[in-house]
């Protein structure tokens, strides 16, 4: 067990830091959260800057055009970007983290040449069409249907939680090509051009007031068979392949954001005088212990992935523990705002010392609620821990078919 970074790792960190220091002041001002064309332009411009500096696809293998960095360098990359308050991956999320890696692993040479460089350069944006209104935790029960007609599939159905759909060029789409009850054995993975006739997008407002989600309605949309990645009915396995690209760093930025939120909250407590209350201090101290442990767990998971190439069980442990800690942190910061937290809006303190960061705190609290739901609810995660790690008997549904 060694927590010290090697000379090479430190060199990677310092050259990245120098580049960030030089480039970040040149960025245009951030667009407003609901200005999606503006956000697309901002995020893809940032991706292009990363590309030009050799940092695009830092975690992608070299054969896919990526940097092929080690898992530890990837950790350093995400840590430094967060510390420097560099732009978040934003609208490039699905392309860089899901669709791109899937095409690298399972795509044809033509598909790789067509789609990968455009993702790395920030030219094209992707969204994800996996979940459906009636296929959430039980994703394998999805019903969006694709029927072969000549060189096309004709696709009809409905998808949900399609982040960034409004500004996306392509959608990684899971469709049912097998019989209705074929579950995970009858699914195919398609590349859907978002400007195809029959694609209808309806924005979905989150409880945090943001608009990145959308519902996707597909009415006899024609998708070329050439846009299928992997074999017909093999889409479930194709989807799972992407998971092996996850090297324990998925929550690095999020976790460091939480560390910063705790500092902001402590600063507020000192300003209001709440810090003199031992109960408040102890809550903060406890949260620090949890966040420190989760940072160490991240390092353990990354070390494991660096050696074996596959993430261990630590990722599931991390998600369960982190989502709970994040909830507690949100509640804690909200309690310190008292009635100044009744609007997600920075407001002037009456002590003359400037604004109170109610906007960030209330928004963080609201966004934190998604953590026990998104990417596998905590209840599903507990089933996974109980069944796959502890070896307890399976749920009846899980025994009958596959489940993420």
């Amino acid at each position: 067990m060694d927590l010290r970074y090697s000379d090479a790792e430190q060199a990677f960190r310092s050259s990245l830091r120098a580049w960030l220091d030089a480039i970040l002041p040149s960025l245009p001002p951030k667009p407003s959260p609901d200005d999606w064309p503006g956000r697309r332009a901002y995020d893809t411009h940032w991706q292009r800057l990363l590309f030009d500096a050799g940092y695009a696809g830092v975690d992608w293998p070299v054969e896919g055009g990526g940097r092929g960095s080690s898992a530890v360098e990837e950790l350093i990359f995400k840590e430094e970007l967060e510390r420097a308050h560099a732009p978040y991956v934003g609208v490039n999320f699905v392309g860089l983290l899901h669709a791109g890696p899937t095409i690298i692993a399972e795509g044809t040479p033509e598909q790789r040449a067509r789609f990968l460089p455009a993702i790395l350069r920030g030219d094209e944006v992707w969204c994800q069409g996996f979940s459906e209104p009636n296929a959430g935790s039980d994703l394998a029960s999805m019903r969006t249907r694709a029927v072969r007609d000549g060189d096309d599939y004709v696709v009809s159905g409905q998808k949900i939680w399609t982040s960034h759909a409004e500004v996306a060029d392509h959608c990684e789409l899971l469709v049912r090509t097998g019989p209705e009850d074929s579950r995970h054995r009858g699914i195919s993975w398609l590349i859907l051009p978002m400007d195809s006739p029959g694609v209808d997008i309806r924005p979905l407002h989150t409880i945090a007031g943001s608009t990145e989600f959308a519902e996707l309605f597909l009415d006899e949309v024609r998708v070329p068979v050439a846009n299928r990645v992997g074999e017909e009915n093999d889409g479930w396995r194709v989807t799972m392949v992407t998971l092996s690209f996850e090297r324990g760093t998925a929550f690095v930025g999020d976790l460091l954001e939480a560390v910063e939120l705790l500092s902001t909250t402590v600063a507020l407590a000192r300003r209001t005088g709440a810090w003199d209350d031992p109960g408040v201090r102890r809550q903060a101290g406890h949260l620090k212990a949890e966040l420190d442990a989760l940072w160490a767990l991240t390092k353990r998971n990354v070390s494991q992935a660096a050696r074996t190439g596959i993430p261990g069980v630590g990722g599931t442990y991390f998600k369960l523990a982190y989502s709970e800690t994040r909830h507690k942190l949100g509640e804690f910061s909200l309690s310190l705002l008292d009635r100044a937290g009744l609007a997600a809006h920075d407001l002037e303190g009456t002590d003359g010392l400037g604004v109170l960061p109610a906007g960030t705190m209330v928004e963080d609290w609201l966004r934190g609620i998604s953590l026990t739901i998104a990417a596998g609810t905590s209840q599903i995660q507990r089933n996974i821990v109980g069944e796959r790690i502890l070896g307890l008997p399976k749920e009846p549904q899980a025994a009958a078919g596959g489940k993420v």
């Binding site: 903060a284 101290g285 160490a296 767990l297 089933n383 307890l392």
Partner: protein, 335 residues
């Protein structure tokens, strides 16, 4: 950076696990329940021979010269086997008290309450394992002192909470012969917290394993109860809690060995806080999974819960630990 347990480290832990399984099986430990002597002197000597107490002692002083990282893995195994006795005190005393290092002398430790501390004028001082001790050390901010355990006018307390941790009370502690100064006392507090936390992690894992085993075998409503989410999720939470605490303890131990990666005192406090909580909560959940039988003396579920409570009172309690972590975020005085 490679935060994985190395092959050498994992072999070391495996060796101690096998030693404990052979030398300290639960039935043999439990045969001493509720007696004044729960330390098995021959077994203690074997732990000494295996290096448990002199693992971190420098080689020139007759030790193995390993770090706290290795010691924390060893102590996790000792916790997992519920080995009774003043393990942490004897480990810390190696090099300071002759015979502690090879297990021929059993060393205990008690904290001298600071004057003015809450309860100091009301609560008597409680000492663990007194009848088994050859030497009793007294820890305070000023340093470490040495007492002859036989010289104390101590009252044995009936019905000790943990049947394997007999306790005595004294109204006050006599002046002790100084053997080390404040600096040693400070690192003993820190390393003692990490090693105690390692014991707690071992017990948290033991409680999880015992609950899972029971949930697989116990059938109600025609199914093993571990198939019901209510029980399954209780077990999953136990596993997560133990793992997060384990990582905190290992990170703290490494931070003590490699102080350039962080603040060892803060890391130790965080580890102890999470490990105490994991052991106590998992101990409680283990009883719950066992249902009515968990409330009996027949099944061992209660042992981890009770020992966890004992260890949670040593080397920093939750409030003080959380306060010291808060201090690391911001000092507590002034706005």
């Amino acid at each position: 950076m490679d935060f994985e347990v190395s092959e050498f480290q994992s072999d070391l832990a495996d060796g101690i696990r096998r030693l404990c399984e052979g030398r300290f099986p639960l039935e043999s430990i439990r045969s001493r329940e509720s007696t004044a002597h729960t330390v098995d002197r021959d077994g203690w000597k074997e732990l000494g021979d295996a290096g448990v107490f002199h693992l971190c002692l420098a080689e020139e002083a007759g030790g193995v010269g390993l770090g706290l990282a290795e010691a924390s893995l060893v102590f996790e195994e000792l916790g997992r086997s519920l080995v009774p006795g003043p393990l942490v005190a004897s480990h810390l005393a190696a090099g300071l008290v002759d015979g502690a290092d090879d297990g021929s002398v059993v060393v205990g430790l008690v904290e001298r309450p600071a004057g003015g501390a809450p309860g100091a004028d009301v609560l008597p001082i409680v000492i663990e394992h007194l009848a088994d001790l050859d030497v009793l050390l007294v820890l305070s901010d000023e340093g470490i002192g040495r007492l002859d355990p036989g010289s104390l006018d101590a009252t044995p307390l009936p019905r000790p909470m943990d049947p394997l941790t007999p306790v005595w009370s004294v109204a006050s502690l006599p002046t002790a012969e100084p053997v080390a100064g404040p600096e040693v006392a400070a690192w003993w507090r820190r390393d003692g917290a990490v090693l105690t936390a390692a014991l707690q992690v071992g017990m948290a894992q033991w409680a999880c394993d015992l609950a899972v085993e029971y949930a697989k075998g116990r059938v109600q409503f025609g199914r093993p109860i571990g198939g019901f989410q209510a029980v399954k999720h209780l077990c999953a939470d136990m596993a997560v809690r133990a793992e997060v605490a384990r990582i905190a303890v290992q990170a703290a131990a490494v931070t003590v060995d490699q102080p350039d990666v962080g603040d060892p005192d803060v890391a130790a406090a965080g580890a102890k806080l999470l490990a105490d909580e994991a052991a106590v909560t998992n101990g409680r959940s283990c009883i719950q999974v066992h249902g009515g039988m968990g409330f009996t003396w027949e099944v061992p579920a209660h042992l981890a819960y009770k020992r966890a409570r004992v260890l949670a009172t040593t080397f920093g309690t939750d409030g003080a630990l959380a306060e010291s972590l808060a201090d690391a975020l911001a000092p507590s005085t002034g706005r």
